[in-house]
Subunit: 638 residues, 2 copies
């Protein structure tokens, strides 16, 4: 049920539903509550008084029975059960309330993906049919396979031409064991799997996003289209280099290519095992596997030498990747499971971006759209249904939590929600899953950078204000740092910090992404204000704060309603490809249609990048609303 | 040059050419010359006097210089150099001269295959193209594979959609090593092989006939369509049973199926090695492999359980066999070499017969045609362009030299040409290649049976006339036998004999084949005289004597000009399939069109079979010309 929560004394109203977590709600609404343990209930700092309405609340030794009777609750342990009025104690004056209220959160925009799925229809590259064959007689003793062909033609209007050898070997016994009832899996016009009887309708696919830093896998039930399990891991190639260039260099060493392929395939096999374990599915029931990745990852996955991807004129071996059997590259799946790798555009614009573009629908709209995929390799697409230009820039792994002292993927325990009290510079920390904090994920890094800038913890050049009256800023082993979580409350047993070097990394990443967008627009003689729509993709967690991302200069400062977030576009595309043959064909068309711009050959790109190494940007005219707000806030406090 | 050879005193004229062997010429013309060593020059019995004209003759210690000066030569060592008159000494009066002159020999009829090839055109399932790609530039950096697709489209009008993973892995380096010149092999719409540069145009195929008893392989140059090498071997499955039924029974034992597949594949790999050795071709240049075999062999080749082939209602797993990679079944070929198995019709009517029918062109003619494939499993097809009926019968291996005491395949040293002197019952023995005799091949067995019958060596029930004044008929270890070659002249060091039990085997084989033809015609309410054409196929040697095959009751007694011999139809078909995609498609159409008649379910078949266990047949009215001649010969001598 929908409810309204009224946070006091900030006087902020939030629409919510039964069961929503109060701390999560506050962080998303931009309401600061001191919280140090990520929402785990350990620090006891997020106490609020429920002055009206009901929450469901787990016990906590951090509250006495008296306090409990008075209405005190820990926000992190409370879920909404009715309309509420919530009093936050010792709340310093809030800045930027109006702006924060207008922020668009991932929760609201995620639906874009789901609706696209519905539009695409459900027509997976592998179909499963239950067949009732006519038993043979002396006057009709056509072969078993001919009988299947006949039945598919008559009952389903489908022509099949071939059958995998393993399936054919199984056929004579399966047909008789199932008393001429069979379940067959068909890819294209070829039968790839046969089971006796009609009992088993099991039919699953695995969709992979193969990122430079992170691997994500989804297990999908192809009978319903629903997601059964999710798993992720770091790309184990990281030990051979942080970005695609260093991976290519590694591949040129003796045995390097084979090693890169082997560790990747090994990890993907482990992810498959994890997905199966989580869902209780058996490996034999996987019909096919889809994978979207950048061009280098796609080459390495198949064991194709990526050497020429980084030598001008930057030519891939193939852009439309041929379909292979997953076991051919060593994936631990039985029999002929097709592996479908999404098509690439150019050396540095891969199947991950094609996957996301098609998932987002930007190839079908009249609106001038900018599509931004935030990853170690940042990719940008500009255009609409008539034309598509694309470019890539190396952002580094910091938006995936890589390259940070305490970085991590967007997993339970990752610090994502963050704010700082204007009064005492104490943080409000909310982690994914409200577990004890373990590290900082990409969206957390953006939120932290913004909050540091807004509260003056750092200057506009990214350096800490060392004169502030807080013990949280200190000289660490690697330079100045801010202590986000002290060791007693962290999930790692050590302090969780963010250093000036980490902030540098995040600044460089955001500068590269923004400069890429800027240069691509300039290439088309367009400006940010021409954009009708901006679509943001990336393997962030559930919560990326648009206003903060604009505030730090990562995204352009245009009206916020033009933004849509689609989450991990690459994974969404791989998942759509697993469920829709038409999607796949569209992806190939879109890949062919895209014109790639090599930013490394664009002299203005480096200038734009340098200008971006400031908060939000050296050219404040590019960020009018941010500049205006910062001026006003400053004014308010000075 | 064409010459005429006049054999005296028989007064028989033969058309011939420079270089033809005189002994071979005589045996083909039905002119008897005593000869015991197969034409090897060892026995010295085949002496003839050249009374006019010139022969080229190798020396022999069997002739004195005086004899040589008088004009004596060994027929087996003489080749025609001009018109000749040849006097054969001590020649007894000949019988059946007129008939023998009318005989149609394989030499004259073999051309049927060649002309069919010309008609089918040359469009192999794998094509090789030399390509000159446009080198990439910064403004045109489409992928390597896209460049190939473009060039194939522009220069050859060909659309390819896929590429084998191994070829794709090779592509980036091959393209640059060849300075954007490439040689690609394409199967269907898929690139299966890539080589740098345009130097190598090597492009070969292997065609196999996989018989129950014998395996034959041809290596074909796909650039010219020419045959480069031939190899053959016994099917090693023989040790698991002589015929398809016993192979199926064996396959049901623990590990039986895997063993049958393994030994077959192993022997085929050895044949490939032999073909390569003979032709100096390397394995990498084999583009594809075709195979034609009966349905049981096709199942065993692919490792498909043949169990249900012998259980009513006799259903194959597949009739149109899916294309696989040869290495998938264990053939020792590198990379993705397609293995194309010709389509089957029914459990006992396989790809071998479909191959031969299409090679013979019977599916395109208006003439009512009977197609007979002589093999361990004898197959028969009746019909024309409008309809095709087919049946099979188990003839046993004796027409392939199996199941005989001294049986062998049609290889050098196999006794093929055979006649017996009416005077002293001494044999004229001519072997394939005129090597020392090693054994008896299928066509030799037919010739021997006929000659035995014609000369009264055996009675019409196949039993030896034990009272004849010749030491060649004797009681051997296994019953009565005729000594064809005594040990000093044999290539094995032992006597080469044919026993009464061997003759029984040949009689049963010919009875089964004829009964099959008879029953199939009866099924269509037709008789032998309705036939416009009879096509004989079988893995015989170069020389099968039609008149003799009719005389023993193997083939119907209809006008001889209606007969055509096409040799090994299965191998011819496999070879055509290797060179013509259209042929393959036609074969699939023909396979679908054929109606199979199960003779095991036809009660009249067994009656007809029993009637056939006589020479030529219990019903002499079915063999009017043979009966008339035998009566006349008998009259002449009695």
């Amino acid at each position: 049920m929908p409810y309204t929560v009224h946070f006091m004394p900030a006087d902020i109203y939030v629409q919510t539903r039964t069961g929503d977590n109060l701390l999560q709600l506050a962080v998303e609404a931009g309401v600061h509550i001191n919280a140090s343990c990520g929402g785990d209930g350990a620090c006891g700092k997020c106490r609020v008084m429920i002055t009206s309405g009901e929450v469901s609340c787990r016990d906590s030794e951090k509250l006495t029975p008296q306090e409990y009777a008075q209405g005190w609750r820990l926000a992190c342990r409370s879920t909404v059960q009715s309309d509420l009025e919530v009093l936050i104690p010792e709340q310093p004056p809030l800045h930027g309330q109006a702006v924060r209220k207008a922020r668009i959160h991932a929760h609201e925009t995620r639906h874009a993906t789901a609706s696209t799925e519905a539009v695409q229809g459900f027509d997976p590259p592998v179909h499963v049919y239950k067949l009732q064959l006519t038993p043979p007689t002396l006057t009709d003793n056509a072969s078993d396979f001919t009988r299947i062909q006949r039945t598919l033609r008559k009952d389903h209007g489908i022509e099949v031409e071939g059958i995998e050898l393993n399936a054919l070997k199984k056929l004579p016994h399966a047909a008789r064991e199932g008393v001429w009832q069979l379940t067959v899996a068909i890819a294209g016009r070829r039968i790839i799997r046969i089971e006796p009887g009609a009992a088993s309708a099991a039919h699953y696919a695995v969709a992979f996003d193969i990122g430079t830093t992170s691997l994500w896998g989804h297990l999908i039930d192809l009978n319903t289209g629903s997601l059964l399990a999710e798993a992720s891991a770091y790309n184990p190639q990281i030990s051979c280099g942080d970005d695609v260039i260093s991976r290519i260099i590694y591949s040129q060493k003796q045995g390097g290519l084979a090693h890169l392929q082997m560790v990747l395939v090994h990890e993907l096999s482990a992810l498959i095992d994890e997905l199966l374990l989580k869902s209780g599915i058996i490996k034999d029931d996987i019909s096919h596997i889809t994978a979207a990745g950048n061009t280098v990852m796609s080459h390495l996955l198949l064991g194709i030498d990526p050497k020429y991807l980084r030598e001008a004129p930057y030519v891939p071996a193939a852009s439309i990747i041929p379909r292979v059997n997953a076991s051919d590259i060593g994936l631990s799946v039985p029999g002929p499971v097709p592996l479908i790798v999404l098509p690439c555009v150019a050396s540095y614009v891969g199947g991950d971006i094609v996957a996301g573009v098609v998932a987002s629908g930007m190839h079908e709209t009249d609106m001038l759209t900018l599509y931004i995929d935030i990853g170690t390799n940042g990719e940008i697409v500009l255009g609409n249904r008539d034309w598509l230009m694309t470019a890539s820039c190396s952002a580094g792994p910091s938006f995936e939590g890589g390259g940070l002292t305490c970085g991590m993927r967007a997993m339970p325990g990752a610090i994502e929600g963050f704010s700082i009290s204007d009064a005492d510079f104490e943080p409000m920390i909310v982690t994914i899953g409200r577990k004890r904090p373990v590290g900082i994920c990409g969206s957390g890094a953006i939120n932290i950078l913004d909050e540091f800038m807004e509260t003056g913890i750092i200057a506009r050049n990214g350096k800490f204000d060392r004169g502030l009256p807080t013990r949280r800023i200190r000289q660490g082993a690697g330079g100045f740092e801010y202590v986000l979580v002290e060791s007693p409350l962290s999930g790692t047993g050590a302090d969780i910090v963010i250093t000036e070097a980490d902030i540098d990394n995040i600044m460089r990443a955001k500068a590269a992404m923004f400069a890429g967008c800027h240069a691509l627009l300039a290439n088309a003689a367009l400006t940010f204000s021409d954009l009708d729509q901006v679509i943001i993709a990336g393997a962030f967690g559930d919560y990326i704060d648009l206003e903060k991302a604009v505030a730090i200069g990562l995204f352009p400062d245009i009206p916020r309603e033009r933004y849509t977030f689609i989450g991990n576009g690459s994974l969404a595309g791989a998942r759509l490809a697993a469920g829709s043959q038409k999607y796949l064909e569209t992806a190939e068309d879109v890949a062919r249609k895209m014109t790639n711009i090599e930013l490394s050959e664009d002299r203005s790109f480096m200038d734009k990048y340098i200008s971006g190494l400031f908060l939000p940007h050296t050219d404040s005219g590019l960020f009018p609303t941010v500049t205006a707000r910062l001026e006003k806030t400053k004014g308010g406090f000075s």
